[in-house]
Assembly symmetry: C2
Homo-oligomer: 293 residues x 2
């Protein structure tokens, strides 16, 4: 029996079912009228209403209303669920530590409680990620510009690891920051941090190599403006597109933008029409739902 369900159980009955479902490691749904309190990283209060509570065997808890993709309240995986009947009412509490967080759902009525035995794969294969974009570039560096040569990926710097590091045709170091979608100002700043870090590295190495140049004050500037041309580090933002503001910031810093999409996952076959071979009119039935908005 992959699922057991109780309709309009008493609060006591609901508790017994929960207890049993916890033991079995089931995925639990509780639909009922409830109020919800949360306290932890922030604090929140949700007044009475019908909601769907989902309790997962990994400790995750979700409270869903009839709207939104995001739960109104939740608890992350790793939490511990407690159920009790208090004052005759079912109460579910989910707690975790570090950070200390508590979610409490108080039911006034339980309409339905289900416990489901979940099996099977949860490995999702996604394409179109930033990693895919990187593979695309490494496979054909000329997509960035003729003569570009990647020398490292995830190369570390004082500001963190850079997506792609390399040199251009003239031997000038180049930092690439990759984004799978249109970018705003923050991506430019991120690129800037990496470029500054590399420029800093190089100017430090240069002064160490060359005892003649003792110019400590001038050396600590991190901007491209006052770096000599030989010390220049290029920054290229690789993304499908860029906002106006980001473009301004990019220009201010003397960085560049290369428009590039993550590789398309080939033909648009969601199987919408032709996966099951027979696409003629069959006795298949259909039902539609347009959102009421």
């Amino acid at each position: 029996m992959p699922v057991t369900t109780r309709h309009d159980p008493s609060h006591r009955e609901a508790l017994w079912e929960l207890e049993s479902a916890f033991d079995r490691g089931a995925l639990i749904t509780v639909f009922g009228a409830c109020s919800v309190e949360y306290r932890g990283r922030a604090a929140s209060s949700l007044g009475p209403g019908d909601r769907l509570l989902i309790l997962k065997p990994d400790g995750a808890a979700l409270v869903h209303t009839d709207e939104q993709r995001t739960p109104v309240n939740w608890q992350p995986p790793g939490s511990t669920h407690h159920a009790a009947v208090r004052d005759g009412r079912l109460r579910v509490r989910s707690e975790r530590s570090s950070p200390d967080e508590t979610l409490i759902v108080r039911f006034s009525t339980v309409h339905q409680l289900s416990a489901m035995a979940v099996t099977g794969g949860r490995d999702l294969a996604v394409t179109g990620s930033e990693a895919d974009l990187r593979r695309r570039i490494l496979a054909d560096p000329a997509l960035i510009e003729p003569g570009f040569e990647p020398t490292a990926i995830e190369r570390d710097s004082a500001a963190g690891p850079m997506d792609v590091f390399g040199v251009d045709a003239a031997g000038t170091p180049v930092v690439l920051e990759l984004k799978r979608r249109r970018v705003g100002p923050s991506a430019v700043s991120q690129l800037g941090r990496y470029v500054d870090a590399v420029a800093e590295e190089r100017s430090a190495a240069a002064t160490a190599d060359d005892p003649d140049s003792d110019d400590p004050d001038a050396a600590d500037s991190g901007t491209a403006a006052d770096a000599s041309d030989t010390d220049r580090v290029r920054g290229i933002l690789v993304a499908p597109s860029i906002t106006d503001r980001a473009a301004e910031l990019l220009a201010d810093r003397g960085f560049e933008h290369v428009a590039l999409d993550p590789p398309a996952p080939a033909g648009d076959d969601t199987g919408a029409d032709d996966t099951d071979a027979d696409d003629a009119d069959t006795d298949d039935v259909d039902a539609d739902d347009a959102p009421s908005s």
Copy 2:
């Protein structure tokens, strides 16, 4: 009847129920063995397994496994759900445009289908947000430093709106960037963008006011280093704490950190123990669940 449920329905029966539930604007859960395909901003494929599909009347769709807070697959609100029986199997497709996205769930078995009539409030009152932190500062600006005076909130700049803008005791302009939790490098960059924008504004205004200073090249530097002291703009990052790397970047830019938490929502009463008055031993029952990790 707030809930209707079908156990092990035929695929045809499941379709009828879905059709009816769509019409009623119900919150639908379907538990069964299925595969899931997504294509849109990215693309993904999920092999066979038992999952819980949730269809909301606002067009949201969620596919949940027994793990994680985040659904393995989903569709945002505003999507349109279609159900059909194809090749004898229930298939649910959810689509939306801009961006074009399609989610397809193909069931091999439907264990349970429920339709719930959801009513009641979904207004969540949250405390401890960045807005609360801002209110706290505006109520007592001395928390930043003696003599600090806020002059504007969400004041716009070329780099976007600043959380709080003001002047210090010496009349020097100050930009505050607020964060409700510990911050890393990106917050420093964000603050930097605003400070640069204000400094730019002021230097532009100064050259406009003063016809003597025609020094177009020197004026376009955005760093604090070469700005004269009278043109200086202070940047203060207000957050509970800050990472080491962020502290370095902050120092590089000559910015400051003020340690400040969002206001605590008073006593830690999640109602865990004493909300229902009687906290003596009653005949209340308990059940626990520790995550199996």
